[in-house]
């Protein structure tokens, strides 16, 4: 199989100002077997150029279900995934 065939498209929710550029949901191709949060961010930076600077500067965190996860955390295609810019607090 080619590398392309091993990928699957997941929907990622963009929170706060990350959604300023357009749709708050973007489709991102990740390995079908899942990947780490850091790898997801690399995929997003590739697929969504508008987010690349924030990601490169370490300003974007990955949330799975209801918790921010570390760079090494693994996520699976069926996870509910969101990207957070720095929170503002209440």
């Amino acid at each position: 199989m080619s590398a392309t065939k091993d990928c699957i498209t997941v929907t990622v929710e963009l929170c706060g100002r990350l959604a300023d550029a357009g749709d708050p949901f973007v489709s991102v191709a990740i390995p079908a077997a899942g990947c780490t949060a850091a790898e997801l961010l690399a995929c997003v930076a590739h697929d969504c150029p508008a987010l690349k600077d924030d990601i490169d500067l370490g300003r974007v965190k990955v949330c799975i279900t209801d918790a921010v996860v570390s760079a090494e955390a693994r996520l699976l295609p069926h996870d509910r995934i969101a990207l957070f810019p720095p929170v503002s607090g209440g």
Partner: protein, 156 residues
């Protein structure tokens, strides 16, 4: 120990929430409440039309619950309520309500103070101000970080 944490997309009324909280008192001698209200003026001095608090289904409530649990483990309080508004908030409307109850007043004061310091810096919200000039994202002010730094790091 009873902890009541809520995220509300509808307006919240500090008076009614304090009533709900106080009705459940048992042996507590002290109740402290805090409410934070949307200002009438944006950071740039123009009239505020709306304060918008964006939240994330799941993560926002969980961040509030984590902060509340930390407060109940650090202070000798027997009861706490944390209610946070999300969505579009009109000037003057309440953004957040916190109440704490304890046998002796010091614990209730400190726990409410601590809850607010952490909510203002760590709760999962993204805040923007809408004025006639447009919309602008805002981040915690320096004073919020200084307030939060008064406490030892949370154990959670």
């Amino acid at each position: 120990m009873s902890v009541d944490v809520r995220l509300s997309l509808e307006p919240i009324d500090p008076m009614q929430l304090l009533g709900q909280f106080t009705r459940l008192l048992e042996e507590e001698g002290a109740v402290v409440s805090f409410s934070g209200h949307a200002r009438r003026t944006a950071a740039d001095g123009t009239a505020l039309e709306s304060l918008v608090l964006e939240s994330h289904r799941g993560a926002t409530l969980r961040s509030m619950e984590t902060i509340a649990a930390s407060a109940t483990s650090r202070f000798a309080i027997t009861r706490a309520m944390v209610v946070h508004r999300a969505g579009h908030i009109a000037p003057g409307e309440a953004i957040v309500f916190v109440a704490t109850a304890s046998a002796h007043r010091r614990a209730a004061f400190e726990a409410a103070d601590y809850l607010m310091d952490r909510l203002k810096t760590e709760a999962v919200f993204w805040k923007r101000e809408e004025t006639a000039l447009g919309s602008r994202w805002i981040e915690p002010v320096e004073a919020d970080h200084a307030d939060a730094a008064r406490w030892a790091p949370p154990r959670d």
